[in-house]
Symmetry: C2
Subunit: 788 residues, 2 copies
């Protein structure tokens, strides 16, 4: 998939093709035999900045690689069997707790939403019954306004990172990008309360995305033993305070979130696998599955409890589950035509939605930049607009007489949930648009999915509903409240599916409710571009296995069509936020450039000696922004019978560890190598997993500046390396598959005097966009990406 | 997961602990500070031999890495947009064809089995009705004997690799191990016919494993453009004739096979993902899903066609689908107790089954080694024993009177499929054991899964059935016919589940049929150790989503219990066959040893010059078995302002390409570097993807021996490398994640005179078992594997 920025650049390159040919002729280097495609005009810039929440933040890469220095090795060797068992037990306990807590919080959110929204609709219903329509509106809009205000205030003032779904940031985290404040306790609490407020306020957004984020927050907090300021200090919990284990647990958390949102345990696992996670192991699959199983058990237990009526208005409707298992699915080979039509239209609409949403989000980011007040204003305007439309539009719809075969208790429905809202109609009549609009989003989906009701909704009402939710879906997503993308897309898709069903009605045997389901699925695939996971989620959601084959076809077609136009919505958001995600597949032109050529256009690498002066370390830390430095010993005699002295690459030391040394003042009076016990006396491997402040915060006296540090025991002796002649494509594969933060480039020449390390590659250096900035001709040669 | 061999060795090490301490004291090296855990006593042996089919064969690693030499790079740059599109289109077309053909062949196998077995049972039924029991037996046993004979003859004489399920070999292939004759046309045909014969013969084996193998064979044949001798020469097809693309297609094939076996499209994809495939990309997930969707559509179309009655006895019963969707699943929190019991017993039984099957297979391999006649004899004895038991045992069971509420047409059933076989009973009575035994395996499963029939089977009959199928499941698997493991395990498991259900009956609300389903699931998980994929397969098989949460729990418990005892059955078989599978997770002790230490105990690496004498190449090829050689240029002046001449690592050249050069006689009179066009004149990149015979088959004249070859254009200039100080654990992660065949070890020293390449690591060097042979003390220090 091509990234949007990159796309525009490629197009620009095509436009300027004449100008570029001129340049080629002037540039003698471009005619050289070895590098016909390269043109060097700038240095490779790496700006580790991205939008996190509402502001531009400095982002860092995560250390998924195991830092094998002396401390780690010693700890590793000395771990007793019982400690290993403790660690395994701990992993499973944490996975259990993630599932348990996510399940409980999801239930509580559902309870809160159903009760708040339920009482709201009860009150509004009372006013309407007494024909006090204006008071009804004021009550409706007022409550919505206040709920939105509450959610937005919390988000704007306490946790800007809690806005939106959070899924793109989780995806970035699992890809190796740390975004500050994403998984903190404040974010978690604001997300929970904000989500309750925003969903109860009837805004066109879901609680699915936020639940994924909530699950991940829980996982991250558990892994680090609690919120930043009040961490538990249990030794076994601190085993997990490293990026690797936290990554695994956050994967469990995001699966649990999806599972809790859709009651889809297998779908949840697959969602993480297909969309969110970057690295995956069979063992992790199993642990994730365990977490989602726990979630399902929790949800089931709560539902059983709520059947007793103890949960207020929550109870029957509760957890979304758009059950269409009642319908007997019959379809023949001819039904392939409407299926293809749904798929194609879903793909087109989905990519159109992505395109327009991208524009809207760009516009919104301009508004949001103006300040907190404007953010609030935007959220409240959207809330007011939503309330007006939801309350006002049903008046446009005519009253429909109830089907006489239905009992009075079913049609029309007064009060709360039900398929035939009476609204402003006389007894025996119902308002079909009110059935869809004046209800919670979950209920709206349930109503529009309802089966064996071919005449319930007329085409006029469905069209109004569809247009309204297209507009709402576009304007609601970017406001400063926790918001999921699933439900808006399901609402839009089901409406268009049902409209299509009415048109197709005479030619097919498929029920209209199934059309709505398929429409929703197609739009999801058209926008989010998932296949297997969506298929399973829909399966678990609709509880009808016979739908599987046609759902599969619809999803495949919609995704294929959508992929022709633009990337998935999550990729668009990631690109917009500037989060440097590494794609799994290298661009084809990456085979035409070597890492040596990349290193040439980077600032020179800074190496440290194995035993280094404190002053030099401080100076380097102050003058560079590098996060790791190769450690090289000079004048070493190779122990293989060669008389020449040369250099020895000892490894890579992290800036964080250098800072730790300075902070703990582990200095030596003379230039000497330390013994094993000396370093273990001062540091534990748990210290090394933390990230320690900034160089500016550390005071070193003038005397200390003249002292020495033995970097050997703190150096990761096993960094991954590549030779300069390797192609960027292969380096990228290595970087991403192994989950690296730094990749050392070695010379292909072996001779005294050749510096041992040619350069270091980081995530930013391997991003296509950054490389193309320096070598624009590469894109020209191979603009299109071969899809693998 | 620990490998069995390794386990025994670890145990032995513990037993001999005293002896080893003595040795430690004698060995001065073991006291050195840097390598306290190492003891070098042998050289690292790498025997690339494994059991393939019935004989020990030489196996090779596959080249999943892209060989970036000059030819490839030129071809890559010159590929036009339309060629790229052609390639993409080709990939999807092949995925479609794999699904289509697998679907069709699966249907044909089903048709054949149902008809052959159906007519067999009809004939036997006639004899029994006339009370001619002996003739009935002779007919039954005779037909079974002949069918088994046919299947075994084909397998023994034409395609020994078609015996067994084939899944372990596919797993090895996707891990990077090429097993000869596994995916040929003969294997495919023998597998199809043999599978029909063996299943129709009523042997206790399934067609599921064979179908996976059949799907993979189809995929492999399509990718290479046909059988070895009659390949299609279309240019675009030859794009796929490389290990990488074939790997992807075989993944599609194995998923299609599972899908066709269980009509479980999502389960098929997940099965490949969880159990079979080693590398996986999101894009491949999607393509695999497409293949399985095609399979489902094909199966559905056939089923619709067969409903018209055109398919002989096939029709209703047809495709296995043990539908329990009719039952309304009700369960409460207390039902967790029987679920836990089922899970624990399933795990115990499953690991016991693995253990005993391992012994039986070892015994069988002794018998099979004796010759083809013994193999036939074994297969026929098993067939005869099966026939005797299936026909004889029902006489032990008493006749049960039919439930009077059932209509006469249902109970008792005469003729073909049905739940209440009359067998030797008077009218109005049925024989419950005959219902389970005198039918096809598919029908037996369907009968034992049947719901709302709590009194149908009595505990005596079920116990006989269980014991019989335990025995048959153990003795049938290893015989020389295509055989799957799924069905025997399902049969065993469902019997024990149903027995448990009868005991638990008074205390629970769960239906006995569901107990059978859960029992089957638990035994599968206990033996095969899959979770998510089994869960989805069972879901799709039983068509009841409400079972999902309890199935999940049962699977998780059974797998956990089983993992305490031994590895999964497929891993046991892989170990038994000696296929060198690389595990995803390194053993913990691998962090305590560096690749440099491994290289020390290997034979010295053989390097070639960039321009090399023909005679030298021939000599090296004759005297070594290496499959790749580093290419190093001497006396090169590094272009970075350093006056010392040194060596330059140019890359890695494959043995196959050297052979190609010798075969095509691309020799130079003088020692010079060639131009780009010279190599392209002689070779195409398609030539390079082939594997070319042996050095012994190539004749080089004495004059030619004195000529030169320029290896530069044929050298892969971008090999993956590691520095000698990297730990074996990390090297293994790199090796497996990137899918390597060779990994170069570089010196950490940079000085003139240091050889540029210290060694080469291959798959065999990284196998725990091989390393422990040389460094036995490593296992002592960290015997248990930390599960990730």
């Amino acid at each position: 998939m091509e990234e949007p920025n990159h796309l525009t650049e490629a197009t620009m390159a095509d436009d300027n093709i004449d100008g570029q040919v001129d340049e080629d002729e002037k540039d003698p280097e471009s005619n050289s035999l070895n590098e016909p495609l390269l043109k060097r005009n700038r240095t490779l810039s790496s700006t580790p900045l991205a939008m996190v929440g509402a502001k531009v933040s400095h982002i860092e890469s995560l250390d998924y690689e195991i830092n094998e220095n002396d401390l780690f090795k010693h700890d590793w060797r000395s771990r007793s069997k019982s400690q290993v068992l403790q660690y395994i037990f701990g992993k499973w306990t944490l996975a259990f707790l993630v599932g348990l807590l996510t399940g409980i919080i999801a239930t509580l959110i559902n309870l809160a939403v159903e009760n708040i929204a339920g009482y709201k609709f009860l009150a509004v219903g009372k006013y309407i019954e007494n024909e006090r329509y204006l008071s009804g509106f004021l009550c409706f809009a007022g409550v919505n306004f206040l709920l939105t205000l509450g959610a937005a205030l919390l988000v704007v003032f306490f946790a800007p990172t809690a806005a939106g779904p959070g899924i793109p940031e989780i995806k970035a985290y699992l890809n190796g990008v740390d975004t500050p404040n994403m998984f903190g306790a404040t974010t978690l609490i604001v997300k929970i309360i904000g989500s309750i407020g925003a969903v109860s306020a009837g805004l066109d957004l879901g609680k699915e995305g936020p639940l994924v984020h909530i699950g991940s927050c829980i996982a991250s907090l558990l892994a680090q033993g609690g919120p930043d300021n009040y961490r538990l200090k249990w030794r076994w919990l601190r085993y997990f305070n490293n990026d690797r284990d936290r990554r695994d647990l956050i994967t469990c958390g995001s699966s649990s979130g999806v599972c809790a949102a859709f009651r889809a345990p297998v779908g949840g696992v697959l969602f993480s696998l297909e969309e969110v996670a970057t690295w995956w192991r069979s063992a992790l699959l199993w642990r994730t599955f365990f977490s989602t199983a726990v979630v399902v058990v929790v949800l089931r237990a709560f539902m059983e409890y709520c059947k007793t009526g103890e949960c207020g208005l929550f109870g029957e409707g509760g957890l979304i589950m758009f059950d269409v298992s009642g319908v007997s699915v019959r379809y023949h080979v001819v039904d392939i035509i409407p299926i293809v039509v749904i798929g194609v239209i879903g793909g087109l609409l989905g990519s159109l939605y992505n395109h327009v949403l991208h524009k809207v989000l760009r516009l919104y980011s301009l508004i949001n930049e103006k300040g907190k007040f404007y953010k609030l204003l935007l959220a409240l305007s959207v809330s007011l607009f939503t309330s007006i439309c939801q309350y006002g539009l049903p008046y446009l719809s005519k009253c429909t007489p109830c089907d006489s075969t239905l009992p009075d208790a079913i049609c029309p429905t007064k009060g709360r949930t039900g398929n035939f809202k009476q609204f402003n109609c006389p007894n025996g009549y119902y308002n079909d648009l009110a059935t869809l609009l004046l209800t919670t989003n979950d209920d709206a989906v349930r109503n529009i999915f309802s089966i064996s009701t071919p005449t319930e909704f007329n085409i006029f009402s469905l069209s109004i509903f569809f247009v309204l939710y297209c507009i709402l879906g576009l304007i609601t997503f970017g406001i400063a409240v926790p918001s999921g993308l699933f439900l808006p897309i399901i609402l839009m898709g089901s409406a268009y599916g049902r409209i299509l069903g009415i048109f197709m009605g005479p030619y097919t045997q498929i029920d209209q409710g199934l059309y709505a389901v398929l429409g929703a699925a197609s739009l999801m695939a058209g926008s989010m571009r998932m296949t297997v996971s969506l298929c399973v989620i829909f399966l678990e959601l609709t509880n009808n296995l016979l739908l599987l084959p046609i759902t599969m076809l619809v999803l495949l077609i919609a995704k294929s069509v959508g992929d022709c136009f633009n990337p998935s919505i999550y990729e668009i958001i990631l690109e917009l936020k500037g989060l440097p995600l590494l794609e799994a597949n290298p661009e084809p032109w990456m085979r035409n450039i070597t890492v040596g050529e990349l290193a040439d256009v980077k600032p020179a690498v800074v190496t440290l000696g194995g035993i280094e002066k404190v002053g030099h370390i401080v100076e380097i830390l102050k003058t560079t922004t590098h996060n790791a430095f190769p450690v090289v010993d000079d004048g070493v005699l190779p122990p293989i019978g060669i008389p020449t002295r040369g250099t020895e690459l000892h490894g890579l030391v992290l800036r964080a560890h250098l800072l730790l040394v300075l902070k703990k003042k582990w200095f030596l009076q003379e230039r000497r190598r330390t013994e094993d016990w000396e370093v273990r006396e001062k540091f534990t491997w748990v210290d090394l997993a933390e990230r320690w402040g900034k160089i500016e915060e550390i005071a070193v006296t003038k005397d200390e500046m003249e002292m020495y540090v033995d970097l050997h025991p703190l150096t990761n002796t096993t960094p991954f390396t590549v030779v300069e002649s390797i192609s960027v494509a292969k380096a990228l594969v290595l970087f991403r598959q192994v989950g690296l933060r730094h990749l050392l480039i070695l010379h292909k020449y072996q001779a005294t005097g050749v510096p041992p390390v040619l350069g270091i590659l980081t995530r930013q250096d391997l991003r296509p966009h950054n490389i193309l900035n320096v070598f624009p001709n590469l894109a020209k040669s191979k603009g299109s990406k071969k899809s693998h």
